[in-house]
């Protein structure tokens, strides 16, 4: 390995690694893989209680669960986790229908809970309270159990312990419903086995924390300088001299702005979202790396992507992986095998459209519990259209990438920047139907029309 490295690659520099080992040698030697896993498992047990309590705090339109109901929900989640673990470990002995479609079987449990709420659970009863509690908490677990079953399907869960799986099911490192770091077998591949590997992982974590700090700073600068939020310290310090670009959500809800400002708002929203998302992901992956799991970062320079599919791969890596493993690859392996283009189209739409919409559907537990189809349509009309455009863009991009690879032609800098600008514009535009709090489908579409001179 070359001794001279760029500053940004400090975590790979042998001199820096040696210095880190000298500085934190005793702590690094103490934290063996077994001890690190034990710490994470102990944290998972605490999280097994805290996380459901936090999620049940979001229950709306139903009676708040009692202490007894909360306790039973937590026990229910533990049972669900353990049964998933047993299913993964004994995968070969499961009924054929479950072995063939383990993910569907897993999600069927969640939908059975919802069906029980809709059909048989009378209001203001302990049973209903427990079922509603489960409906609000299971979506956090169901994707993680999905990876667990996938691991079982691939024969990699047999030698794992429940304690090790628990640390992944209730991750101390955080994350959304998307499992950052995927499942245990993926994490194990990146686990530091020696002191030097752990030191490298620590330094890689440090790098992510520094980057996260910079991106959070970037977000704050945008809030003050670009958006000129009236109460922001930077806006006040500048005496209101910010650019005053309106928030995209304000425009898509029906607000007005000059055309140039509207376009600027579009690109600013994209940059803002990427910065925030990258910063949050860096903190989560940074914590994982501190514990010796030197996995890929969640966001890797998406704004330098030269194609739509590259952006999707780099923006939210662990969400893309989830959609890819549970929707894209199974569809590709099973459907339309003799029609190449249709096969790719079906696989892309299974992941970026069907999977994407379904994933976000499970984030609206309140509407699911209420069985509010009209509310779901209102909440998801714009999102569904966004997913459709995203899937279409990815499909076209993949076909173009395949052609480019076949042509094997190197392109100049100007062409590359042009491609990057195209990717920015695509994602900035589809963001109109995805920006949070941005109004209904109609108002968003009207804003889009106004951007291209039709409004």
């Amino acid at each position: 390995m070359p001794r001279a490295m760029s500053l940004s690659q400090f975590h790979e520099n042998p001199d820096v690694i040696a210095a880190w080992l000298r500085l934190f040698g005793p702590a690094i030697r103490w934290s063996t893989p077994r001890r690190r896993r034990t710490l994470l498992a102990a944290g998972a047990v605490i999280l097994l209680v805290l996380k459901p309590m936090a999620l049940m705090g979001d229950i709306r339109g139903e009676a708040a669960p009692t202490a007894l109901a909360c306790s039973l929900v937590i026990l229910g989640l533990l049972a669900f986790s353990y049964v998933s673990y047993l299913a993964a470990v004994n995968f070969a002995r499961l009924p054929e229908a479950v072995r063939k479609r383990p993910q569907i079987a897993l999600h069927a449990v969640y939908w059975a809970v919802l069906a029980a709420i809709w059909l048989v659970a009378p209001p203001h009863t302990l049973l209903r309270s427990i079922l509603v509690g489960l409906a609000f908490t299971m979506p956090f677990l169901v994707w993680r159990c999905g990876y667990l079953l996938l691991s079982g399907q691939r024969g990699r869960a047999k030698d794992t312990t429940f304690a090790d799986q628990l640390m992944v099911l209730f991750p101390v490192w955080g994350g959304s419903n998307t499992p950052y770091g995927k499942g245990l077998d993926y994490l194990a591949r990146f686990e530091a086995k020696s002191d030097e590997e752990l030191a490298r992982s620590h330094l890689a974590a440090l790098k992510l924390f520094v980057l996260a700090g910079l991106w959070y700073l970037g977000v704050e600068i945008m809030n003050g300088v670009v958006y000129g939020d009236p109460q922001h310290k930077l806006t006040l310090a500048l005496g209101g001299l910010g650019l005053g670009i309106p928030r995209l959500a304000m425009l898509t809800k029906g607000g007005s702005a000059p055309l140039a400002m509207a376009w600027a708002s579009l690109y600013a929203e994209l940059v803002n979202q990427v910065l925030r998302h990258a910063a949050e992901g860096h903190v989560i992956i940074g914590i994982l790396r501190l514990f010796g799991f030197n996995v890929f970062r969640n966001t890797y320079k998406p704004l330098l992507s030269e194609s739509v599919v590259q952006f999707w791969n780099r923006y939210y890596f662990y969400f893309k992986e989830l959609m890819s493993e549970l929707f894209f690859l199974p569809t590709f392996a099973r459907r339309f095998k003799t029609w190449n283009r249709l096969r790719l189209f079906a696989a892309v739409f299974a992941a970026a459209f069907v999977g994407n919409v379904y994933y976000h559907l499970l984030l609206r537990e309140d509407l699911l519990v209420a069985g509010d189809a009209a509310g779901l349509w209102t909440a998801f009309g714009a999102r569904t259209f966004y997913c459709f455009l995203l899937a279409l863009g990815i499909f076209v991009s993949m076909v173009r990438e395949q052609r480019r690879a076949a042509a094997a032609v190197e392109v100049g800098l100007a062409r590359r920047w042009l491609r990057i600008a195209g990717v920015w514009t695509f994602f900035a535009l589809i963001c109109i139907w995805n920006v949070r709090g941005g109004g209904d489908f109609s108002s968003r579409t009207q804003f889009f029309a106004s951007l291209i001179g039709l409004g």
Binding site: V309, N313, F328, Q402
Partner: protein, 86 residues
């Protein structure tokens, strides 16, 4: 008789030349190097390798599914091919 695994690796190299990124020549990648990690291919290019293995070796992924880890390197793909053909 030539080593079957070596033949598979040669075939894979020839195929990967058609899907590699222009600035990452396949000849600079070792058998055990990660194809995605080395920047040779995009993770979604796995589907092209899957289609190639189906066409060339008649491997059916419908039952067992596609495990991305088996596509991590040329060596692991060759092992997969040898396993499925055995």
């Amino acid at each position: 008789m030539p080593d079957q695994r070596a033949i598979v690796i040669d075939d894979l190299k020839a195929f990967l030349r058609t899907v590699q990124k222009p600035n990452r020549p396949i000849d600079s990648i070792a058998e055990t190097d990660g194809l995605v990690a080395s920047g040779l291919i995009d993770s979604l290019a796995i589907v092209q390798i899957v289609a190639h293995l189906e066409g060339k070796y008649g491997i059916d992924f419908a039952a067992g599914g596609v495990d991305p880890e088996r596509f991590a390197s040329m060596g692991s793909i060759a092992d997969l091919v040898m396993e499925k053909r055995a």
